[in-house]
């Protein structure tokens, strides 16, 4: 079942444009959104969350258009980025107290469970947390309000290999509980490790949106790894 669908998304800036971006997210699967820096990953994700006003196209979640159902849909999705922190000098506990008041689905037991699982000290401020911990705090918030779809912008960027591995294992565990995960990355090994589907974007256009196995079958040369395939495709795109 498709839980999120992006259709013909267009956004034009003076020096960059998203061109007819379309793809869908299947329920209970991990979709890796890959592309080099500046390919349009963050613009696409922000458009999916109405943080960017697209010039054209539609975004649907659970069969409903995002426009007009924003508040209800946001209750069922979670977003995280490791690079931005909110209220850097407020205690996590204070932020959580406010956030939970917005969700009637808030599960305090789940919150306590993830707080302990991720070893988060909620008396700390975001300023005192590493990028990896910030991602975990955002994930904890999303999971405590029982988000069905997680949209994660570069969650593994800036993480050490151990934290990255830990996070990718967590994605797999969450996927096994039925959560749909869509995460952007420019690190190909992240996709190789845990993604079921691949959405590949280059210069603002979607090159492919396929299950990983189909992607490899369509684009890989014999014996080529995903990393080699991606590097070759990007190389060809530059010289095209």
């Amino acid at each position: 079942m498709v839980v999120a669908e992006v259709q013909d998304l267009v956004k034009t800036y003076p020096s960059f444009a998203l061109k007819d971006v379309s793809f869908g997210l299947e329920s209970g699967r991990i979709t890796g959104f890959i592309g080099r820096n500046g390919a349009g990953k963050t613009t696409t994700i922000k458009s999916m969350l109405n943080m960017i006003h697209p010039d054209g196209g539609t975004v649907q979640y659970f069969g409903e258009p995002f426009a007009g159902n924003e508040a209800d849909i946001k209750k069922r999705i979670g977003y995280s980025t490791g690079t931005v922190s909110w209220y850097p000098r407020k205690k996590i506990r204070e932020i959580v107290k406010i956030v939970k008041s917005f969700y009637d689905t808030w599960d305090e037991d789940a919150y306590q469970k993830y707080l302990s699982l991720f070893a988060i000290d909620d008396t700390k401020t975001p300023l005192e947390l590493s990028d990896g911990m910030k991602v975990k705090v955002n994930l904890m918030l999303a999971l405590a309000h029982k988000a069905e779809v997680l949209i994660l912008d570069e969650p593994t960027s800036g993480l050490d290999p151990f934290s990255r591995n830990e996070l990718l294992n967590l994605f797999t565990d969450l996927r096994n509980t039925g959560v749909t995960i869509f995460f952007s990355t420019h690190i190909i090994s992240d996709i190789e490790k845990c993604a079921d589907d691949i959405v590949y974007i280059s210069k603002g256009s979607i090159v492919a949106a396929l299950p990983k196995a189909d992607f490899m079958q369509q684009f890989s040369l014999s014996g080529e790894s995903l990393e080699d395939t991606m590097l070759r495709l990007e190389g060809e795109a530059i010289h095209a």
């Binding site: 969350l49 109405n50 943080m51 909110w86 209220y87 850097p88 406010i98 008041s101 917005f102």
Partner: protein, 217 residues
């Protein structure tokens, strides 16, 4: 809307917004341009916008399960709450000066504007201008607030200067009435000030909601 206001008060607000509310009591100062009181209150609110921007408050709010326009309404609600608290203190000061202190020599010999209902109405006008120029101006970009604040300062001090000067013009002395003198006129001017506040705030909020929808965060 209650939880949005709570978020504004507990996460986004600078402590200075609350600490500057008592500047409303400047309405008790004799020999001082009392309309500087509302200006200082707006200075406190400005600090909240500054600290909220540093804390990525707008992006955080955009991710909460609320419509984008509710972010704007929440900010206006918070601003109006602070302004309302300050107006309440000003009203207390005005009532004291119009009743118990109406014959006090320090106020009677005051060359500057008297704290009466007209002054309270002018405070409403200043807050209305703040909402129109500064808050509305901020939501043109949801990021830049320098120019809107400087524009507001100029408009605010023009209003203060005008309000201080008016009662010196022959025929307009009634604006500086003491006690319950000219009470009907005083009340009419207060109501006019409140209407200007309401009109500027509602119009500015509606325009800001429309503009904020188009902004890329």
């Amino acid at each position: 809307m209650r939880n949005i206001l709570q978020k504004e008060m507990r996460l986004s607000a600078s402590i200075l917004s609350y600490l500057f509310i008592p500047f409303g009591l400047m309405f008790l100062l004799p020999g001082y341009p009392i309309l500087c009181g509302p200006f200082f209150v707006t200075l406190g609110i400005f600090q909240s916008f500054q600290s909220a921007r540093e804390a990525n408050d707008i992006v955080f709010s955009a991710l909460l399960p609320i419509a984008k326009k509710d972010i704007v309404k929440g900010k206006y609600l918070f601003v109006c709450l602070i302004e309302g608290c300050a107006l309440l203190l000003m009203a207390v000061a005005v009532c004291l000066r119009m009743t118990m202190l109406s014959q006090s020599a320090v106020y009677r010999s005051n060359a500057l504007m008297n704290a009466n209902f007209f002054a309270l109405g002018m405070a409403c006008v200043i807050f209305g201008l703040f909402n129109l120029i500064f808050v509305g101006g901020f939501f043109q970009t949801a990021y830049k607030f320098g120019r809107p604040f400087v524009t507001f300062i100029i408009a605010c001090f023009l209003v203060i200067f005008m309000a201080e000067a008016l009662h010196h013009i022959p025929g307009l002395e009634k604006l500086n009435a003491f006690g319950t003198d000219e009470i009907v006129l005083q009340l009419l001017l207060l109501v006019a000030g409140m209407l200007i506040f309401l009109l500027t705030t509602v119009l500015s909020c509606r325009r800001a909601c429309r503009q904020f929808e188009k902004i890329d965060l």
